[in-house]
Every structure is written in C-alpha cells, then in structure tokens.
C-alpha cells in the first residue's frame, strides 16, 4: 500500500504522455502536458512526507516536533509556478499556430513548415 503514492505519480506521467501522443488538438495537448507535470508534484511531496509529522509551520506545535521535509515543498512550489508559465507560453503559441495555419491539429501543421 505504501507504493500507491509513487504508483499514482508514475500513472499520471504515463497517462499524460499517452494523451499527448493521441491528441488531435494543440490545446488538448497542453492540458495533457499539465497532467504530466502534476506527476512531479505528487512524487516530490510523497518523497518528503513523514508518517505522523506535522506541516512545516512552526507555530502552535511543540518545539521539538517532527516536521515533514520543507525542501521538497519549496521545490514543488517553484514547480507549480513554472507549470503555469509553460502552459501560458504554449497556449500563446497555439493561438499563433491557429492564426497562421487555421487549424489546431498537429498532424496538419507538420508538413507546412511556415
């Protein structure tokens, strides 16, 4: 049962990749990529978790209390913000691609090469 968290992280990555491969729409592709990215949050936070430990906020808890790992949480925080920027840029590119080629299907975009 303890492997469930890691299994979910792996599943999200694979299912997101499958969505990217079978996608016929650039917007859909970006959404699937965001599913892939969330697998990294699940993995990082699952690694940093400690059974019975408190959230890394040192207020209202005894001074020596065990905390979950704050370093992976800070990394995940960065990760979430970076996901937003990546998605924004890709969506802007999708808008541009649609304006230029009149389609969002990556298969129809490929042979045109500008």
């Amino acid at each position: 049962m303890t492997a469930l968290a890691y299994a979910v992280a792996g599943w999200l990555l694979l299912v997101g990749l499958a969505g990217i491969v079978r996608s016929r729409n650039l917007i859909q592709l970006v959404v699937c990529l965001s599913v892939c990215q969330s697998s990294t949050y699940v993995l990082l936070l699952a690694i940093g978790f400690r059974d019975g430990a408190a959230a890394p906020i040192r207020s209202g808890i005894p001074a020596g209390a065990e905390l979950v790992d704050p370093v992976v949480q800070a990394m995940t925080l960065t990760d979430v913000v970076v996901e937003a920027t990546v998605t924004a840029l890709l969506l802007a590119l999708a808008v541009r691609a649609h304006g230029r080629f009149g389609t969002l299907d990556p298969d129809e975009l490929a042979p045109m090469r500008g």
């Binding site: 890691y6 992280a9 790992d69 704050p70 949480q73 960065t78 924004a88 802007a92 808008v95």
Partner: protein, 251 residues
C-alpha cells in the same frame, strides 16, 4: 506516420518507461520514512536563526533564495513572451464592432453583481496571504495569483475596463516590472548592508509577529506584485485575443 503506428510505437516506449519508473521508485525510501537531513536542519534553525515560523518560506526566500530569483525571471520572461507572441498577431486582426461583446458578462447581470461583491474580499484575502507568508501557509506566489483573480473579478463586474479606452495592461506590466526589480533591490540590499547577496539584513523581530523575519515580508510583497502582474498580463492578453476577430466578422 499514421495515428495507429504512432500509438503502437508509443505503447512500446511507454512500457519501457513504466519499467524504468518502477525500477527507480523501488530505490526510493518507503513512503513516510524520508530521511532528509537538510530539511531537518532547516526545520530546526528556521525559528531560532530567521524568526520565520513558516519553514517553507525560509527555504524559498532564504536558503534557496537565489533559485526563487531565477523563478521570478522565468515568470517575467514568460509574460514578455506571451505579449510578444500575441501582440504580433494583433496587427492582423481588429476588435469586434459590437461593444456589447467587449464585456464578457454583457448578458448576465447576476454574474456581474456576484463578481462585484467578491472582488473586495478576494483582494483583502490576497493581501493577507501575501503579508503573512513568513508566519502561516501562503506568500507572494499564492497571494499574487489571488490578487490577479480579484482584479479579474473587477473586470467581470462591469464595463469600466473596455478594450481600447483604458489600457490596464500597462499598469499590470508596471506592477510586474516593479515586483521583479524590487526583489533584486532587496537582494542587493543584502550585499550593501550585510555580507552577501540576498542576506537577511533587516531586524528579525519577535517570532510570530507580523513584522518579523526581516526581509521575508518585503520580498514576498515584491513576489506578489510580480506574480499578480504576470498572471494579469497573460490572462489580459489572452482575453484581448478572445475579443479580437478578423475584420470581416466586425461588419
């Protein structure tokens, strides 16, 4: 390549990747038993040495602050990139002629009223979250996005911001720039008033007080401005795009 062929190749690759992942995950510490020495060390010194009760903030703004500086500029670059990509497209298209279409809630007064009622509380929440980042969960990143959402509610609430008349996007760009520059200025302050770049040079105060933990609050205010500005620039530009249409449509 056909779709079926591509999916077949992917199935082979995905099986291999799944096996690699399973192998890698098997080498990880069991769930709930992580032995992160660095995290433990930071957890134990965040309050005595930095007077910050939120340890994640201490990591983000101090122990890993240089990384956050880079992240700030990733966000800045992304917003500039979206602007560059979409403003180029704008010369090819014009605004829809029907002014009613320029306000997204033109057809729904109840949505406009609910938005108007929520905008104030959302802004207060955003400011609270930003200012308490060193004490409780939250900070510039979370609060910045909420602040952007609050300002979007103002937009949803009415016809005050219309395309072409007021250019709120200039103010957003300014906010974004001031945020990014503020972070760097505070970081350089560490260089001038203390020993090194990003060093916490302000008085640390009493742990748990609002005015404590030195530079964390000003840094998070800068981050909040930057994030809110960047999110609004991106959403505003996409919104403008959604209102743009080709010239034929305007007639």
């Amino acid at each position: 390549m056909t779709r079926g062929g591509r999916l077949a190749i992917f199935a082979v690759g995905a099986t291999g990747l799944a096996a690699l992942l399973a192998w890698g995950f098997a080498g990880l510490p069991d769930f709930g038993t992580f032995d992160g020495r660095m995290g433990e060390l930071i957890s134990s010194i965040a309050v005595p040495e930095r007077h910050a009760t939120n340890v994640v903030t201490a990591v983000t703004l101090d122990f890993r602050g240089f990384d956050t500086l880079g992240e700030e500029f990733i966000l800045f670059a992304a917003a500039v990139g979206v602007l560059a990509l979409l403003r180029l497209a704008r010369s090819e298209e014009t605004v829809a002629a029907d002014p009613d279409e320029m306000t997204p809630t033109a057809g729904s007064r109840s949505v406009a009223r609910v938005s108007a009622a929520l905008a104030g509380p959302a802004a207060v929440l955003a400011i609270y979250v930003i200012l308490h980042g060193h004490l409780t969960p939250g900070g510039g990143f979370q609060g910045g996005v909420v602040l952007a959402a609050a300002l979007l509610l103002v937009y949803l609430a009415g016809a005050t911001i219309r395309h072409g008349r007021i250019k709120p996007i200039n103010a957003m760009e300014l906010g974004e720039g001031v945020g990014a520059a503020g972070f760097v200025a505070i970081a350089i302050g560490g260089l001038i008033f203390a020993a090194s770049f990003l060093e916490n040079f302000l008085p640390l105060g009493v742990s748990g007080d609002l005015l404590s933990a030195g530079t964390y609050m000003p840094l998070y205010i800068a981050v909040g401005l930057e994030v809110a500005g960047a999110v609004l620039v991106i959403l505003g530009e996409l919104l403008d795009q959604a209102l743009l249409t080709s010239e034929e449509d305007g007639e």
